[in-house]
């Protein structure tokens, strides 16, 4: 960890993690992420591990994604954005899904909301299909980006289907981020003009050594690395760690920058809501300006930067 940190700090690399569920993470993670060079994150709407049963749960969750969580992130110098949507799992509760569809327009235009997401298929049921399409229509109506979750089971077919449905509804593929890719899906995604995001998992599914190979084989155009760190076993430092590994494995610096920062910025900034000035050219965070006790800081030494040291 020390060696990697020195490397990235010398390289002055900044990272964006465009898929991370901070609601489930502690401030230890925020501290580590900030120190590792993550400047901005995007938190997609997702399920919480067990199904919601009331519309109020969705409303309060969405509210936390545009309220408390961005504030919590800001106390560690990280800029937090989110995507709002009805996730694939909970689309299966149709009466509830209908209510969520009514709720979405109240949140989609808020300042921190960069896309509709994460939506798509889980088991590829009829209900999932219905609400995926309904949200694609919303995306079209409001000219928004779409963040697509691809299934972990029957992935290749599910990914292709997701893309075909997007095109069927007339979406511009360069406005759609297809996430959780692997070696089997990436070519199809890139060929059709979609953005291919890769989630780096600690043990199973896509690991960071395989990611290095993906970049070596497919290049860095339209490829993004993320962590999807959530309430399960996952690593919120997946992006900076993968970047470090890429550099040590001989991947060109510019490809690392693209896959771990620039591509994510380029696509999500098309929402008009994500701007580099939100984290660049800011005065160093001064946590002493923020209040102690009744905040996320409790008696720690505040981490203060008066001038950023790079």
């Amino acid at each position: 960890m020390g060696k990697f940190k020195k490397l990235t700090m010398e390289e002055k690399l900044r990272f964006i993690d465009p898929h991370i569920h901070m609601t489930s993470r502690t401030t230890d993670d925020y501290e580590a992420m900030a120190e590792a060079g993550i400047v901005a994150i995007i938190e997609p709407s997702f399920w919480l591990g067990q199904p919601r049963t009331q519309i109020g749960s969705f409303q309060d969750y969405f509210s936390s994604l545009v309220g408390w969580e961005p504030f919590r992130a800001s106390q560690f110098g990280i800029k937090h954005y989110c995507t709002i949507g009805l996730n694939s799992k909970e689309a299966n509760n149709e009466p509830l899904a209908e209510q969520v569809m009514e709720l979405l327009p109240l949140y989609l235009h808020k300042q921190g909301v960069v896309a509709i997401g994460e939506i798509g298929y889980d088991d590829q049921t009829k209900a999932e299909d219905k609400y995926f399409r309904a949200q694609l229509e919303l995306a079209k109506e409001y000219n928004m980006l779409v963040q697509v979750h691809t299934p972990h089971r029957d992935k290749k077919a599910g990914t292709i289907k997701s893309m075909e449905v997007c095109l069927e509804h007339g979406l511009d593929p360069s406005m759609v981020i297809i996430d959780h890719n692997n070696e089997e899906t990436v070519q199809e995604v890139l060929d059709r003009g979609f953005i291919a995001a890769f989630t780096i998992y600690p043990k199973t599914k896509m690991g960071n050594e395989r990611m290095v190979q993906v970049v070596k084989s497919f290049g860095s155009t339209n490829i993004i690395v993320d962590s999807s760190a959530d309430w399960g076993v996952s690593d919120p430092l997946a992006v900076p760690k993968t970047a470090g590994l890429m550099l040590r494995s001989g991947v060109a610096r510019q490809d690392v920058v693209k896959t771990c920062y620039q591509n994510a910025f380029d696509v999500f900034s098309r929402s008009g809501k994500m701007k580099e000035e939100h984290w660049l050219n800011t005065k160093g965070i001064d946590q002493r300006k923020l209040f102690n006790d009744n905040s996320v800081l409790r008696g720690q030494q505040p981490k203060v930067e008066s001038d950023k040291i790079v």
């Binding site: 309220g67 504030f71 949140y107 006790d293 996320v296």
Partner: protein, 283 residues
């Protein structure tokens, strides 16, 4: 006072927005008025952030100074004034909009909520939204707390004694600049003074300091424990604490105030000559 000039929001909004922006806003308002249902209001309110630039406000020559100063100190930008104006106009238009406005508060993001709280006094019958102001006291988000407590005339006018005390104590707890809370003298009360004394003693027992400004409300309640507290401030090595003690006594209507202050002739002179005031205490 500010509430009397709330109507000036009209002119300020027109002046501050570009022609295109104001046209969008006016059309949005028309849309809301002409259509049943509340979606357009919710979406319109949210869209202000992207349709109206966060530019500095522009004021005409006839703008009331208090209004101008307030909007500037609260750092209102074009997009903020647009939001506030929209709410004000729908509420003036039809009382039925109280319900959807409540919903807007319920689903507000941080910025939307802060604009709402800062602009509360400009809305018709703002006491209808007391629940939102009081709820803001319980927040963990410092900027939201500040939106209702800093420079804002709403709490002094509308909060109950318990709510006022809650705000004052939490402000101290959060190490907010208490001099930004308005009308402290007017809302001073016995319960608050007891709370102040207890909190100070808690801090002192932990060898921690308190903002000397914290003592401002105790002037007319110097009795019991407070006498010892004020003496302690007079005898402190900290000059600002000495100054605070002097101010508390000087502004007191009680004889004890005079009696205590008499013992410190230098300080007495300084407060009489306004060398030390609550305004300059921490300079």
């Amino acid at each position: 006072m500010l509430e009397e000039y709330a109507y000036q929001l009209d002119a300020i909004t027109k002046h501050s927005l570009d022609e295109e922006e104001f046209l969008w806003l006016a059309n949005t308002l028309k849309d809301i008025a002409n259509n049943a249902g509340d979606q357009r209001l919710y979406i319109g309110y949210s869209l202000c952030a992207s349709k109206v630039a966060p530019n500095k406000l522009r004021f005409g020559t006839d703008t009331n100074k208090e209004v101008k100063d307030y909007l500037l100190v609260q750092e209102f930008m074009g997009s903020d004034i647009a939001r506030l104006w929209l709410l004000r106009m729908v509420l003036l238009n039809d009382s039925r909009f109280e319900t959807p406005v409540r919903k807007i508060i319920e689903v507000a993001d941080r910025n939307e909520l802060e604009v709402f709280l800062k602009g509360l006094v400009f809305l018709p019958e703002p006491n209808r939204f007391q629940f939102a102001a009081v709820e803001a006291l319980r927040t963990n988000i410092s900027t939201v707390f500040e939106a209702i407590s800093k420079y804002n005339p709403y709490p002094a006018k509308y909060f109950s004694e318990q709510q006022w005390n809650q705000m004052y104590l939490k402000g101290a707890f959060m190490q907010l600049d208490l001099s930004t809370i308005m009308d402290i003298d007017q809302r001073a009360n016995k319960n608050l003074v007891r709370i102040i004394s207890d909190y100070a003693r808690e801090r002192w027992a932990a060898s921690r300091s308190i903002d000397p400004y914290f003592w401002r409300p105790v002037s007319n309640f110097i009795e019991g424990n407070l006498v010892d507290d004020v003496r302690r401030l007079f005898n402190s090595d900290d000059l600002t604490e000495n100054g605070a003690a002097a101010l508390v006594c000087y502004h007191s209507d009680l004889t004890i105030g005079d009696e205590l202050l008499k013992e410190y002739p230098t300080l007495k002179l300084q407060v009489e000559q306004a060398d030390i005031t609550w305004e300059n205490l921490k300079n």
